[in-house]
Symmetry: C2
Subunit: 388 residues, 2 copies
């Protein structure tokens, strides 16, 4: 009973931990409190949706196993989903929930104090001020280091097993984009944007004949005069012939994402839309030609932006970011002027959405693996306006 549900071998988790410990050594951090949920997942496998209450992974000094601290109600999920020995999955009492005096972070601090480290790293960029003040007040005898993002930098370079999961996620993204195409194409006058969204979300979970999808991000969808907006969802509006729709989605496998964005048009695209899309497409080719190991982030962005500027367009938002566990990994950024270098085996969401008017824009994006000598697209959906 209670088999463990692990996405990776124990050896893989040990390698990740060793890399984080090496960074802790460099920063003279004895003991690390990891609170960023995707980083907890990366290091332990624990993937439940419980970050709305206190939780943490504590990496103690030396070679000891990390400790996972969860609300009591989630301890069993911790046994099942984490690679940790059962005795390292700790629960704080339910009385600490919605409790102004003591909460789960007090339990976490107690455990750290029991370890008695010389220095403690904590992610001050990711915990609330209340929590940070608790750390500062209760851990005032130790050297407290801001370790925000320390695990993200390790996550930037993917292992073969991670890349395989992202390939699977990408296969699901292709299936879901095909589902969007079919839903738009089979429309009647009564079909609403949410009818398309329902079919896309089902496809993201049904996955391929070989594997299903895990919890997906809601599909982004904007149509007509809302195509100048990004990060919005379906509405109650009916589909309208002639209108174009920007769609962004990602398949997920064990929380690993492979986002993909495409522009659909219900009927023949206007020359205005074709012109914008052609420029984005050409910019995409130019950006891809620069995306290789050792390239600078800024040069990839420059390749895109300089291309679309020739058409009188511009893009002030960044052109992409690393993708792995969850849609966006906060480490590097494909933005103009960045001289950060791109490593081999990093995976990128090259996001080239361009919104020249308040009420008009188009999108193309790709999930791209940086290989030894260049890059490889993980999805195979044609990079064109998908005419339905």
């Amino acid at each position: 009973m209670m088999e463990k549900l692990l996405a990776f071998s124990i050896g893989e988790y040990e390698e990740r931990l060793a890399k984080v410990r090496s960074r802790m050594d460099t920063s003279e951090i004895d003991c690390l409190i990891v609170t960023h949920a995707p980083s907890i997942c990366y290091l332990s496998g624990y993937a439940a949706d419980t970050g709305f209450v206190p939780q943490a992974l504590i990496i103690p000094p030396g070679a000891a196993s990390p400790h996972l601290i969860l609300r009591a109600q989630y301890q069993t999920a911790g046994y099942v989903m984490s690679c940790l020995p059962r005795e390292n999955v700790h629960a704080y009492p339910e009385s600490f929930i919605a409790n102004a005096e003591n909460n789960g972070f007090d339990f976490i601090v107690d455990l750290v104090q029991g370890i008695d480290p010389k220095s403690v790293g904590a992610e001050f960029g990711g915990v609330s001020w209340h929590t940070a003040e608790k750390f500062r007040r209760r851990l005032n005898a130790v050297r407290l280091v801001d370790a925000t993002g320390i695990v993200n930098w390790v996550r930037l370079v993917k292992s073969p097993a991670e890349i395989e999961l992202q390939r699977q996620a990408a296969a699901i993204s292709d299936v879901a984009m095909r589902a969007a195409f079919n839903a738009f194409s089979s429309r009647t006058g009564a079909t609403r944007e949410y009818d398309v969204a329902a079919r896309v979300m089902a496809a993201l979970i049904s996955g391929t004949p070989e594997f299903g999808g895990d919890v997906p991000h809601p599909v982004f969808m904007s149509g007509g005069d809302l195509t100048g907006s990004s990060h919005i969802f379906w509405t109650q509006r009916p589909l309208v012939d002639g209108r174009h729709y920007n769609v962004g989605l990602s398949g997920y496998r064990h929380r690993y994402a492979a986002p993909l964005m495409r522009t659909f048009c219900l009927g023949e695209p206007s020359s205005r839309l074709r012109r914008l899309h052609d420029h984005i497409d050409e910019g995409c080719e130019n950006a891809l030609s620069r995306l290789r190991p050792g390239a600078l982030c800024g040069d990839v962005a420059e390749a895109f932006v300089s291309t679309i500027r020739k058409g009188g367009y511009d893009k002030s938002s960044r052109c992409g970011y690393p993708v792995g566990i969850d849609w966006l990994e906060p480490s590097l950024s494909l933005k103009m002027g960045s001289d950060d270098s791109i490593p081999e085996n990093s995976v990128w969401h090259l996001n080239l959405g361009t919104w020249p008017e308040d009420d008009f824009g188009a999108v193309i994006s790709e999930t791209v693996l940086v290989t030894g000598d260049g890059n490889e697209l993980l999805t195979s959906t044609p990079r064109e306006i998908l005419i339905c």
Copy 2:
């Protein structure tokens, strides 16, 4: 072009704002910086999924309209989704994204400084330590007040229009629970948990013949030896005859939720499961008999817990919480010992999941409106083990 997509009348937003301003007066807060995304939505209508970068609603002194500050890429969404005049929707430049020196919160502070208030309230429980330190450093000339949760207390009592949306969300919850029943019932040996999840998620978005659903929370699903875990999702495992499954879901209308949890069994339930479920059901009846205006939160929890204790079970987690925009509203809590009083027109997720063993548990939950003389269930799914 660019019609506004508002869930409520302008008058309703004005009433909400007046209530928050009254609380600001009581706390001697001149100007409030609202950063909690559901509270921004409550006061302005803005509902895009953009809280992963800095954003805020600023409520200035006097009768002036609030200001919504968004990343440039989202300004158009702000025009469309918020009730605010266009000139009150501000954008900070894209160069502030992934920028260690200046970010959107600097822009927000600049705007507050321009207003020149005597005192400023900010949600220190919801912003990162980095952000809070920025507020403290850059607003050091004004009195800075921790206003965490101030809007949540206004959100606790629902308007007729909000209750109508939650009724619609509840209708969708019923439809989706029926979809789960049908998916479990039509299983073959090849059907996997994700096949059920795909159909449920599609139903949550397809909604009813009258209206579709908005972005849903992923359906919670645990089966067999994982039913002792809560807040986990579907797996790649096949459905197994004789196994039981705990399912938790919610329809959504304009971000308003109406959660519903039920236990399904593939075939005849074991006596062990029947016994647990019977006790939870009886406890639910007893809790419902106490849930009325003026009742104490602790008494509702006591009614449930004392009932299941007679069967040798226990529940240390709380028995419910208010529900409105998003699944959980952080204000009151149906927990043992709480002497907070329950107001009329509050809406609750009475969540009675009970997990007596690591590998065994069952769930019942209801979304309940507190009426003038008692309460009313918003959903109509039978409260029994759903045998498929």
